[in-house]
Amino acid sequence: MFPTCRLALFGSFCLFLLSFYSAPCAIAQESPYFVAYDHYLEEPGNLEIEYFSTFGTERGGNDFHAYWAEFEYGATAWWTTEIYLDGQTTFNDSTVFTGFRWENRFRPLKREHFINPIFYVEYENKNGADKILKEGEGHDVESDFLVSNAVARSERIHEIELKLILSSTFKGWNFTENTLAAKNLSNSPWEFGYALGASRPLALKASAKRCTFCPQNFVAGVEMYGGLGDRHSFGLHDTAHYLAPALAWNLPSGWALRISPGFGLNDNSHQLLMRWGLSREITGFGSMVSRLFGGRK
């Protein structure tokens, strides 16, 4: 792992420690999704620090462990902005820092509706060794990952990704549908993908006592995602698709844990994508930063 990668990961780790020891935290009400998004944005002024891992199998090649740190900030009640730092380890090969992403989600409507749209805009600056599989797009298939890290990382990718998130909440259930269009800013065609999700807390009423293992702290769900080809060859041929049950555990201490085993649905998919994640929400981060620069106490 080269030094800048170490520096980035060390920085993320320090922020994580900061959140653990000093910052006030809020109990998060996290959905269990890893790929799909619902229409809930970060609360204004709060910063959520997240770490996620994906272990993936690779037929005919080396299995891998990809990971990313995510810093999600509620700029306003209608705008959430996020920075991702990504890396991966391919077994019997090497560990590489694969790039960063800057993601923004906007809520155009003031009120809650039966279907709630969210606009999503992301810029990705990554290399070809990126394996976090944060979305399914285009004709991305398992065999793309057979290339060694040394070769794959030499390819630079600047990509814009747009999503339309349509999400509904009904009787405690959340249903979400994400449509994706991504464009590599080099001369590549638009690529398309989708993600679907459904989730529900295990209990809808809150307990009158503080508890860690109460069913309302757990949210179970399932998500399905995959590619839809590109502008020249739209459709399901030569695309990978996954089905992944998922569980989130929102602890009263402010931490949230998530786990999701994903299963490939066709021969183009990795057979198993085992994902897990840990997150913590820092309340009043905007005010803390403001005070740091001499703002109001």
């Binding site: 080269f2 800048t4 990668c5 520096l7 980035a8 006030p24 809020a26 109990i27 009400q29 959905s31 619902d38 229409h39 809930y40 944005l41 609360e43 204004p44 002024g45 810093f71 900030y73 509620g74 700029a75 306003t76 009640a77 209608w78 902005t81 920075i83 730092l85 820092f97 694969t98 790039g99 960063f100 800057w102 809520r107 003031k110 009120r111 809650e112 600056n125 990554k126 290399n127 630079r156 909440t169 405690g172 959340n174 809808l204 009423k205 809150a206 307990s207 009158a208 006592k209 309302q216 009263p252 981060f285 905007g286 005010s287 930063v289 403001s290 620069f293 703002g295 109001r296 106490k297």
Partner: protein, 156 residues
Amino acid sequence: MKAFGAALPSCVLFLAVSVVLAQNQDPDKSPTSAAPKYDPPVYAELQKAPKKAQERRNPLENDPDAVAAGAILFEQHCAECHGKSAEGTRKAPSLRTLEVQNATPGTLFWLLTNGVVRKKMPVWSKLPEPQRWQLVRYIKSLGVSAPAAESPAPKP
């Protein structure tokens, strides 16, 4: 290496945006006061609840545990902005005013569900309906606090 070189300015930009937004919060509020002065327009949102929503009854009105559960939910999700005793902070208004306490349970439930997105109150429909009703029970149980009650009450 190049990616990290680009990531650093992005992080700085991210921080700068945070600072600007944080600095812009509540420009009309005194920098020294923890709680805002009584501000009637803040409560005008309550009037926007549709009649049908206003008339909804709290299904947990007679649930003996609802207030206790609502208190925990309030502490977890609302106290950060509205204050531990719901008397308001510079981020969000007091919930112990006549406007809030006289509002119907249905109105408060509607406001929780829809938020006031343009004024920093998030949508809380991610809490299941029964939990929002538990919150309403708790908020209604707080009553009007003395200082807040003085301003809106008509003087003889």
